[in-house]
């Protein structure tokens, strides 16, 4: 892991993977993980992308090897600013950004607030905010406080992963990784995400966008995912039929292949 200092002094960790030909310019892709866990959750994406692109994976504030934010140091605009400051740190004037679930909210916020910087947006399991989702995420926080994060995840795993097709060992690993997250951080992070809505801002996303949605998600309806192609001027939607919420963890190779094809089409057009 590498680190840089954000403009408010917090130390931010990121992984950088680059197997692109050193003699040609390669665009930078920044991946933003979902709530809980860290950039590690994107490990399977890297080999698909990093032969053609320089791939940076950020650990969001309070997650992975990044420091925990102090009072007043956690907001969606601040998380988006971290992404842009990482791009600055990497010397990437313009970059592609993609995120998963809560990370896709951050990625979309980057595309909304910094249109001059973003080449394209990859929005995986992204709605225009989670306030109207089928579950109350604030009740998650209460349960996590009572039972612990790992027990909460184990009880609700079928909302996230299709257990019939999941590979043996994957679920335990996923719970182990996600379960490392600080409950104190989640107690701030989840309500912040819950009240953050950006449906009205979606038309301001000017870059080409790929939206990939789970088709069998107990947390959001497919209609909620459709607001992206409805409101973003240049957005294609791909629905993975039958899969619950965590497509980026459960079918990472499929996600990365679709995202890679989208990026190559942009690069070569």
């Amino acid at each position: 892991m590498n680190t840089f200092k954000a403009s408010d002094g917090l130390e931010i960790a990121y992984a950088l993977d680059d197997y692109a030909d050193p003699w040609r310019p390669a665009d930078t892709v920044i991946l933003v993980h979902a709530a809980m866990g860290s950039s590690l959750r994107f490990y399977a994406w890297v080999p698909h992308l990093a032969r053609d692109f320089r791939v940076a994976r950020i650990d969001m504030r309070g997650h992975g090897a990044t420091q925990h934010p102090g009072p007043g140091q956690l907001s969606v605009p601040r998380l988006a600013q971290d992404v842009v400051e990482l791009a600055d740190h990497l010397g990437a004037r313009r970059f592609h950004v993609a995120g998963s679930s809560a990370g896709s909210t951050v990625a979309a916020k980057v595309a909304i607030d910094y249109p001059g910087r973003v080449l394209s947006l990859g929005a995986f399991a992204c709605t225009g905010g989670i306030r109207h989702s089928l579950q109350d995420q604030n009740s998650w926080v209460k349960k996590i406080g009572e039972k612990g994060l790992a027990a909460f995840l184990r009880e609700t795993i079928a909302d996230r992963v299709d257990l019939k097709s999941a590979q043996p060992g994957f679920v335990d690993w996923f719970i182990g990784e996600s379960g490392k997250t600080s409950v104190a951080v989640l107690e701030q992070f989840v309500p912040m995400m819950r009240q953050f809505e950006f449906v009205a801002d979606l038309p301001r996303i000017r870059c080409p966008t790929l939206a990939v949605a789970p088709g069998g998600d107990p947390i959001h309806t497919v209609e909620q995912y459709r607001v992206l192609p409805e409101r973003i001027p240049s957005c294609e939607l791909v629905v993975y039929d039958g899969l619950p919420h965590n497509i980026t963890d459960a079918v990472p190779d499929r996600c990365a292949r679709d995202y890679h094809a989208f990026l190559l089409k942009l690069r070569d057009s």
Binding site: W23, Y43, P47
Partner: protein, 274 residues
């Protein structure tokens, strides 16, 4: 743009510092299998970066810099031999806690890999040989001419003059420039020891001791080694597999790296230990 792999270091039993990189995007909940991949003479493990995306999703890929190359120190007068190079492979595996591992090499790196498989059969799960005879004695390489050319002109000019012979199949000028830049980092005096050492080697008689699955990926049109010279494994390692790259000259691992990596991946998946 820089390549990203982070270099690690270890100390060999004779005190030399050895550099190596590790790239691993395999599923963490499965039994991990490791591939040690050894570069050719000149340059370093960086020459193999294009192989990593294909292989590292399934295997932990470890690329050592051979003695005198890349980030590994230049060996002293008594610190360079084929035996010592094979010991470095085993000591690297020990350092990483690997009882058994897959092993592959390109050209001179394959001479090291094959010798390791002969001498340490209990450690090597599978062996992949890219473009090499068993030692350079049975090859057509005129090492004395190479060494005198490099000593007279320096690495860069020697490479500039011979680059078209190496890569008649490559049009990408950026790649050719990069190949020369990387290879020209090699220490001239080190090469003047390394090349002739390899040229003195012929272990054809020991090949029958290779018992693990073996893949030979061979250039079909190589002035440095004829088809007959490269077919020696058919006789001595009858269970070994062959893939010929018709029409291609020696440096297949640089000129068609992704094809090499995909063929290696297929072979490795077929022979996975777990």
């Amino acid at each position: 743009m820089p390549l990203s792999s982070i270099m690690h270091e270890m100390t060999a039993s004779d005190g030399l510092r050895l550099g190596y990189s590790v790239d691993d995007f395999s599923d963490p909940w499965r039994p991990r299998e490791t591939l040690i991949l050894i570069h050719a003479a000149m340059g370093s493990s960086r020459r193999l970066y294009k192989w990593i995306p294909a292989l590292s999703r399934h295997f932990c890929v470890v690329r050592p810099d051979m003695r005198g190359h890349g980030r590994t120190e230049i060996p002293g007068p008594d610190q360079l031999s084929l035996t010592r190079l094979t010991k470095d492979v085993i000591e690297l595996a020990d350092h990483l806690g690997l009882a058994r591992f897959h092993l592959a090499g390109s050209s001179a790196g394959s001479i090291v890999a094959m010798r390791t498989a002969i001498d340490f059969p209990e450690r090597v799960l599978t062996l992949a040989n890219f473009a090499s005879t068993p030692g350079l004695k049975p090859s057509n390489i005129d090492m004395a001419k190479w060494v005198s050319g490099i000593k007279a002109k320096g690495f860069r000019d020697f490479l500039e003059e011979t680059i078209e012979e190496r890569f008649p199949n490559v049009q990408d000028k950026g790649f050719l420039r990069w190949f020369i830049d990387e290879s020209a980092k090699t220490d001239v005096d080190l090469f003047a020891r390394f090349g002739p050492m390899m040229k003195a080697v012929d272990y054809t008689a020991d090949l029958h001791r290779i018992k693990c699955p073996m893949l030979n990926v061979m250039p079909g049109h190589d002035p440095l080694g004829s088809k007959a010279q490269y077919e020696v494994y058919r006789q001595h390692v009858p269970h070994s597999e062959y893939i010929w790259y018709d029409g291609l000259p020696h440096n297949i691992t640089d000129s068609v790296p992704e094809r090499c990596a995909e063929d290696l991946l297929r072979f490795l998946l077929k022979h996975r230990a777990s």
